[in-house]
Symmetry: C2
Subunit: 405 residues, 2 copies
């Protein structure tokens, strides 16, 4: 099978951008894929969006929905977000919020705002590959942030001097059910991260893309909420919160938001104006209408569906994984992260799994800034039904048994 061979050969040395290209090729009949990290389109609130577009385009708002608008974002949407942020312990005003074209754009802007060549960015090992893709053009060096905080500022100061040579500009992390591992930073981890960045005098970029998708366990406030609790006011905070509607309402409309102190937002608004003027007007109007009509109910339905798929995956992993394979037990999100026995290469396993079992996933090393993590893989449970998950894990187990030998 040419595709499999090409994939096996190329995953051994590919970059994040190439992995994405190849993932498209995996969408073949007969292959069960846990590779794509995308929401299930069957769960989009299509009827609510259809109604929102119809009401906007048939009413007096049609002209303004198709016209240029302000770089800051649609005011009623920012007002709604002020209420949502207050619910999670982040009191703020509309001037603390910028609407972006998805949280990917937020990461690009923050890379552009903070990073000069040689500066250091702290990221988890592994981390969201789209974040590395957004930061890489600004030529940073990366150093390792542990997910629940066991490195001190002193470690990074030494590291910055000796190994990397650039000032630490920010710590980037996904706070809840992160892509790719499904792990969550616990309360103590959030507190120690804040200690660390205060010591380092650098920013925090909190990627909250999956925050609304918690299936069990107690909600943990955002890192920004912990910092406001310490410092009294968002204006005193160094945490920059990046939210997204991509995992709750629709990724294709490209609407996300940034919450931060006003001086940061002011700079990002100028950047937005220079880079694409504003996010599409109609999209923001529609997201606002749908969010106000049914956000909580809709997200509750989405959670229920994904919870069942996560449970099915965790149960099937118990049944089918050979000894020596370990995995995360995420309380939300879309991903389970597998650590294979040392010496089993995720890219080789993918080639074998495609060839012999017609099952696909993403080799884990693409999520490591240093290219390590070869014995890891990422599974997404968001787009498969429970029976398919069961069958897919059975096949993965067979492939793994063959690989382990």
């Amino acid at each position: 099978m040419d595709l499999t061979e090409m994939f096996a050969e190329r995953t051994a040395r590919m970059k994040a951008s190439e992995i994405r290209e190849l993932l498209k090729l995996l969408d073949q009949p007969g292959i069960i894929s846990f590779a794509g990290g995308i929401p299930d389109p069957a769960l989009f609130p299509s009827d609510a969006f259809a109604k929102a577009f119809a009401q906007t385009m048939e009413g007096d708002q049609a002209g303004s929905a198709l016209q240029y608008s302000v770089s800051e974002g649609y005011l009623p949407l920012r007002e709604w977000l002020v209420g949502e942020m207050a619910k999670v312990g982040v009191p703020c005003s509309v001037d603390n919020i910028l609407i972006t074209s998805g949280s990917q754009q937020a990461l690009d802007y923050l890379g552009k705002l903070f990073l000069s060549p040689g500066d250091t960015a702290l990221v988890n090992w592994p981390t969201y590959m789209g974040a590395l893709g957004a930061f890489n053009p600004y030529e940073p060096r990366y150093d390792q942030l542990s997910i629940n905080g066991n490195r001190s500022a002193e470690d990074f100061k030494d590291s910055a001097k000796a190994e990397t040579g650039g000032r630490v500009k920010f710590a980037y992390l996904s706070s809840d059910f992160s892509n790719p591992t499904g792990e969550t930073v616990d309360r103590r981890g959030r507190e120690s991260l804040l200690d660390l960045v205060d010591d380092l005098d650098c920013a925090v970029i909190e990627d909250a893309a999956y925050q609304a998708l918690r299936y069990d366990g107690a909600d943990i406030p955002p890192i920004l909420a912990f910092e406001i609790a310490r410092k009294g006011d968002i204006e005193a905070c160094r945490t920059i919160y990046c939210g997204s509607f991509s995992k709750t309402l629709s990724p294709g409309l490209r609407v996300g938001w940034i919450v931060a102190a006003k001086p940061v937002i002011s700079q990002l608004v100028l950047m937005k104006q220079a880079s694409d003027l504003h996010s599409p007007t109609l999209n923001q109007i529609a997201i606002n209408a749908v969010a106000r009509a049914c956000f909580e109910d809709h997200v509750s339905d989405v959670r229920k569906a994904y919870r069942g798929r996560r449970d099915a995956m965790l149960a099937a992993l118990e049944r089918y994984m050979p000894k020596g394979v370990e995995w995360t037990r995420p309380e939300g999100g879309m991903f389970v992260w597998l650590t294979l026995p040392v010496g089993v290469d995720g890219a080789d396993l993918l080639a074998l799994a495609l060839e012999t079992q017609k099952v696909a996933f993403v080799p884990g090393h693409a999520f490591f800034a240093d290219g390590s993590g070869r014995n890891t893989i990422r599974l997404s449970f968001s787009c498969a039904d429970e029976a398919t998950i069961e069958e897919g894990m059975r096949r993965l187990g067979l492939a793994l048994q063959a690989a382990i030998g």
Copy 2:
């Protein structure tokens, strides 16, 4: 009047981004404004868009319209654009086209692709202030490109060495009815520009945002078409063409496109993926549907409306402008550019005009990379009816008479 005083004080030393902020304040009852460079929302094909959104959201396409899509852009839209580009002398394939979030994003990406701090960008004096805004973050130096080509490569080589010190990376220009002057690069100008960039071995960024809005005179093919005619194939060309639906169908949906040789597009696709993944899926589907349904008929209606407004403005300028004021006679677009007698400052005139005549426009110096052009102003005729244009020019004439004394 506080607003007027603030405006007068600030326009004397403001940046493009600040000008835009202040323009919003001019949208006051009683003020006739020729300041905003935006299309008339009454001319948007709102019914066609309403139909396109309804058909998309009520059919099988709803899920994919709300889902992630490819960074290159929606294939049927790129296919339609291949046909449109062929009509203006640019044979190309879908692989030569990237969909962007408006042409502003194209300018940002091209700045990022080409410019390192200290590199030289050639721009017209004056030029589109949004282009300066897009390029400025990459810290170029600017040198002056004359609109119809009377500087030789030797001039720029000397200039790059002696004054600016950076390599010339590209020449940026708006080819037709440019913002702000309304001027068009003639056939001879396009040919000599191509001679120049071949000598300089740099790219051309051709901003074709207004190209479809010609009201009289013969169409001139894009610079890219002239280069293809010389070199036989788009793959041999250094011109990068930036198109936009903002002036024809809708600016608020943020859909534009870039046409260039495949290696350039490939790099820009990676940049797009890293910066915002893709332009919104639904917006591209809707633009494609409306463009295929009625582009030519709709643009013909838009041309007719704007042609009447341009004629009204040129006729009223003849009637009301005092001696010593000169202006362009654009064959299309949205703008007329006035050169005032030396010593009359556009920002001072705006303060006076707002205070005494309640008429607004944009002082011209914001469009000059070197801050010169103080005795110039930009008038937009796109959003006012003919009677308002007549009255506005009468008021401007009175303000100018008072300023000239």
